[in-house]
Symmetry: C2
Subunit: 386 residues, 2 copies
Amino acid sequence: MLDFDYQRRTRIHFGKDALSKLPGELASFGPTVLLVTGGSSVKKSGLYDRVKSALAKAGKKVFEVTGVKPNPRVECVREGVAICKKEKVDLVLGLGGGSAIDAAKGMAAGALYAGDVWDLYQYKAPCKEALPIGCILTLAATGTEMNGNSVVSNLATGEKLGLVTPSVLHPAFSILDPSNTLSVPPDHTAYGCVDIMVHVFEQYFSRVEETPLQDRMAESVLQTMVENARRLKANPKDYDARANVMWCGTIALNDLLGLGKSGDWATHGVEHELSAATDCAHGAGLAVLSPQWMSHVVAGGPGKFAQFAHRVWGVEEKDPLKAGREGIARTKAFFKEIGAPITLGEVGAKKEQIADMAKKSVRNGKIGNYQPLGEKDIAEILQASL
Amino acid sequence: MLDFDYQRRTRIHFGKDALSKLPGELASFGPTVLLVTGGSSVKKSGLYDRVKSALAKAGKKVFEVTGVKPNPRVECVREGVAICKKEKVDLVLGLGGGSAIDAAKGMAAGALYAGDVWDLYQYKAPCKEALPIGCILTLAATGTEMNGNSVVSNLATGEKLGLVTPSVLHPAFSILDPSNTLSVPPDHTAYGCVDIMVHVFEQYFSRVEETPLQDRMAESVLQTMVENARRLKANPKDYDARANVMWCGTIALNDLLGLGKSGDWATHGVEHELSAATDCAHGAGLAVLSPQWMSHVVAGGPGKFAQFAHRVWGVEEKDPLKAGREGIARTKAFFKEIGAPITLGEVGAKKEQIADMAKKSVRNGKIGNYQPLGEKDIAEILQASL
């Protein structure tokens, strides 16, 4: 196990009654709130009205950025930053899925930075401070509700970049009511489940030894996801399955599973290029790429893949490489079973885009740790995904 | 799953180099520090000198309470409270095992309370605030390094009481260097391992359904403990095993495993009476009582015990009650294997003390949730432990 530091500042309110904690949270912040929302689903469900009502009762002066798109755009973040600066916002409150929350985080960071907020995503300037962030989550997927990350796209430059902070972008509070995810349609439910599982993969597949608790906890999330994604495929209105998936999503990327290890985020790196090129949903892109990444690297380190196959999928094959390959095949079949895409064609990518995506993936050098990947490796992974 | 709230304020510094983070932490607090230590082991190891040197370099004015005993006494906590009040202490720094840290927490709480600190442990007054607490841990066991609990004994009244706060008594930082546990003698290593495992049991054995992730994470800790306690029995100087046990200890009682469930703390309740009566080590008392508690309640709810037997011990028996009983037998045999006591006689308790311990255990009514226990149940559990 490697040395590590760990702290999470976020207060989690989880369950059917979680929104009732909003007034108590709002009381801790100043009078001016920027509310950041995505599509129309929160309006249809009535959640938006309930949040607005709580804000009004708390006497808040509310500004809004609405219509944040999946793969949130830097232009939208800039719009929020301008409001924060002009109106002296005290709290940026994201309401929606990972996109709305990540956009809100970007606004909170940009508000206290003198230059263009895109600098922070490009790591041209360090992200040292941010306005307080609140989160009301409506999609189980990204884990943004309890981590310091924000991912934003810049269509002008064709970039999708992740700003990862140790703690600056931790939400002060996150309200996680699984009821708010009951209406997520089957495709996005599946993409969210894939996203959660791939977050676990990126931390699980590590060359660092002697991390048995972290490994088993990661396997715990994966086993729970397999069971509960299947339940949601059968019945999207299953509250308990939604609750289990939602809590898995938080644990999957609040960094707990990767402590003392070096993760491998190559699949996410390549997927960001795929999303930037096709605007596909992040989880959809991951479903295509993750099993192909596994197949590309398994021969160089089959032991961990065999453990994965044995413990998560109950594979009995003893030979590590054969067992590992069986685990990968089951993962791919599972993604397909729950309704996620498994080929590039399904997410709208074309063969001719492969060379450019591969090149951009390594713009800062080789990516990944389990096996560092160069441009040729990535082109091969993408080719195999066709 | 039940609704829950969760937040941990503690910053964890984990690993061989963790103590190097102390100066950075000290810089965040005012000039006056109360250092709280237990026995002589931290002096022998040189850790005490290193901490004192860091405090001196940071320009701190240091007061000390030394010689905190296992099952820390309220008189010692009062001594620290008096120093905190008189000297306007800014940080209470516990250095040692759970006893030194729990005493430090009591001092930090008492410092900001006008009455006698024992009131807080008796819940006669709410524990609303405390001085900042720092923790440098030298024994993997209680989990106090990342929770809001403190357990203190009052020999005058024969009470051992736990003050449980949602967040007031979270350490601001905890320094966890597994190297500092390498010299823990075999008996206390075993007691610590039992303590960690029983913390998991108390959260795992719950009647609340639909908590599959919490259950699996609990099983992850138990499996990791079984493997690594055995390694330490064979080689107490195994750094990796010490590290795995230390991190298990933190996860076992930072409340993560019990979220959305109702735990059962009956074994701890009875053990506090056993420790109060005999001054035995907490983990030693738990090793005696925990398998007997399991045997007492298994017939009333065998399903969870069967899951425990199947997943943690690899029991293949299908019948739930038979499987559950096999899991309990293996647990008891395991405690014996690693050198923990399994009878009351081994911890110095006598048959004649049973009636009094049973009576005191239910002074506030029945205890436990998996099966609420009255005085007669507890007398039976103690009788079976002879």
